[in-house]
Assembly symmetry: none
Homo-oligomer: 414 residues x 2
């Protein structure tokens, strides 16, 4: 099957919105074994959308669009696609009820234009939208398939995975199985060097590495006629990877580090608290993203001022005076303070210089001290994060804090 | 002038490389007042590249390509463009000398295919490549312009700025000025209804609305012969918008709400602290993203457990017993507790149900109470956020907290 991705929206052409949908869909189609021939971005213009559709069906059989399904006047993708594939729009009762229910439940007034979203091609396979009001759909005419998905990534991605992918899987032969292995603590070049022979020798499964925000991932994929065979091939490659670089792997299933740590703490029933300076609540926010974390997360302190460090965590002004707020000693005192305030089994702290100001020769922007105490055992580490900006430094420090917790728990186990 | 951006390269279609060139060129062309009608990505396939060129010149006069100018066999953009515009390739002496010089200087052996890069359209304006070997060029035939640039961003961007931009500036009149207005507290449909007459009547300036993560933005753009005129047109439209929906506007300059609030607090020197339950540190994290915020942000409490609310903030267990942890009374007690612990002028709190578990009929997932106290004046509000998932509810609550702070400061001013 040959595919074309069409992202619709005048705002995309201004370059103010980065088109993450196109990249996501490219990756997903590849995983399904579907070749992408073109990617187009076009404004909310009927003639141009139509011209792109006609061009696409000249030598491709699948067009996936995102955007232009909303309630407003410039949302016209659905109309053009329906026309191009020789169908007509009609009210889709189930969708109309869902939209009315959505607004009733949210106790928000529904405007007439919201109901435009219930108009769908008569022959469509309708994809319900769990995260918004605009449904998506698949429409096939004489071997030409169109799949129309909403523009917002948080609506589009689940709809692709839950509706469009099964629809496509049923239509194309072979099966791809893949796992996304996530690592922290090893750079992309070092990672590639550690597995370069596996990458060079690859036929199936294939290996691809990706670096993102201080983490590296490895995609292990196998395409076979048989699902079980593909799984088995991926599985034995995972074993090889764990033998080589197991200490850096925190997930074989594309989980976020915070989610892995949150789940681990919940499973082991380890109560936890935190004390943050430079990360400013980002650690707490990150860990409390895990559903059910309230069973173990007790409290967090964001102690920005020195007074706050003293009053909330009992950090002695003398320690700050002597070693500075950004020091091993302050980090340890903060973690100890969080522990004694909360009575939890594990406490973690961070104090550093996130920039852009505040750096010195001796203590540059990017320097962060972190302490972790678990069942009385203390560890303290420092990093010098690359100065890729305030937000990057803070995120990287949080990843490091999470990895310290993982290691503290593993050390206690062994 | 109407433009099309074509990024060439099979690797782009796999979705492993994010196509930053397309976004960069969109922005640059907009700054030149050139409208981008399409963005295409196509593999290294002669037939498909040609089809895209032909489609482009149907209703546009400028095509900018990136990629496919290198020395290898699959670098074919130059050939196809030259053919499409009715020219032929010939050796460009200056370029040949430059390539020979490049390899001599780098003391690297030059292969014959490197000299392919010295073959250029006979009528081209050649753009020298200061960062690599492949030159770019502009070629015009009967009002159809093609500009071909190399693929690597570090070669492409300087070549665009130094060669392509001056080439284009000489050929097009007019200039675009635009502002991005950000709002919170009004849905996209309601926003459009409030300004639908302005949208319908638009010729210049044009208005476009975008919804994202609980916020709505309006882009106001004017294209005029004269820069000052365009600015003036945008400016008076901004006044109209402020007259209509001013209470929802927090920025005329595409700033994040957290950044606007952070800057306001710093300017006014208003010390601030926070107490968070369901938002789990996300408010603190969001506010402390602002550089320099340490001048006013004192401390934050993430009080997840009831014990933490009592011990850190002095929330009376009787209040929680009687009204529940998610209640107006608890939210107010949390803000009061943060205030008295920190001695800051402003305190803000949030307590709610972020889900997925924990909701009841009476207190459903998405219900959040928030209190803000500023110079002794207390306000308390509740929202029922759409259940778009834990992360969305938390983010939405944080935006609402930020908007409460803005309103508290404005109320105090008036």
């Amino acid at each position: 099957m040959k595919a074309v991705i069409v992202t619709v929206g005048t705002e995309l052409l201004f370059g103010q919105t980065v088109d993450t949908n196109a990249v996501y869909l490219s990756q997903q189609l590849q995983l399904l074994g579907i070749d992408v021939m073109y990617r187009h971005t076009v404004g909310d213009n009927p003639g141009r959308i139509r011209r792109i559709l006609d061009l696409s069906y000249e030598d491709c059989d699948l067009v996936i669009t995102t955007g232009g399904l909303g309630p407003t006047q410039d949302d016209i993708t659905k109309e053009i696609v329906t026309e191009a594939l020789g169908d007509a729009l009609a009210v889709h009762d189930e969708t109309e009820q869902a939209i009315r229910g959505f607004f009733a439940k949210a106790k928000r007034p529904m405007t007439e234009n919201n109901l435009r979203q219930a108009m769908l091609p008569t022959r469509a396979d309708v994809f319900a939208n769990r995260h918004g009001t605009a449904p998506g759909f698949a429409l096939e005419t004489d071997g030409r398939i169109a799949i129309c998905l909403p523009g917002p990534p948080r609506e589009m991605k689940p709809m692709f995975e839950e509706c469009a992918a099964p629809y496509l899987r049923a239509r194309c032969g072979g099966t791809i199985h893949y796992r996304m292995v996530r690592t922290f603590g090893i750079g992309e070049s070092a990672l590639e060097a550690a597995i370069s022979d596996l990458i060079s020798a690859q036929t199936d499964p294939t290996l691809a590495t990706y670096a993102k925000d201080g983490e590296c991932s490895i995609r292990v994929a196998s395409k076979r006629a048989d699902e079980a065979e593909a799984r088995q091939a991926v599985c034995s490659m995972l074993e090889t990877l764990h033998g080589r670089i197991g200490e850096y792997i925190f997930s074989d299933d594309n989980e976020e580090l915070a989610a892995v740590v949150g789940k681990r703490l919940i499973e082991r029933n380890i109560s936890v608290s935190c004390a943050e300076s430079c990360t400013g609540g980002m650690f707490a926010q990150s860990l409390t993203g895990t559903p059910g974390i309230s069973a173990v997360f007790d409290r967090g302190f964001v102690t920005y001022s020195n007074a706050a460090k003293a009053e909330e965590l009992g950090v002695s002004p003398a320690v700050i005076e002597e070693h500075g707020a950004v020091s091993r000693e302050t980090a340890l005192a903060m973690a100890r303070g969080a522990l004694s305030a909360s009575g939890s089994r594990l406490a973690i702290s961070a104090t550093g210089i996130a920039g852009p100001g505040g750096g010195t020769e001796e203590k540059p922007v990017g320097l962060v001290y972190m302490a972790c105490i678990f069942d009385g055992k203390e560890m303290c580490e420092s990093i010098r994060a690359r100065n890729n900006g305030r937000s990057w430094i803070r995120s990287y420090a949080v990843l490091h804090m999470l990895s310290m917790i993982l290691r503290a728990i593993e050390d206690a186990d062994s």
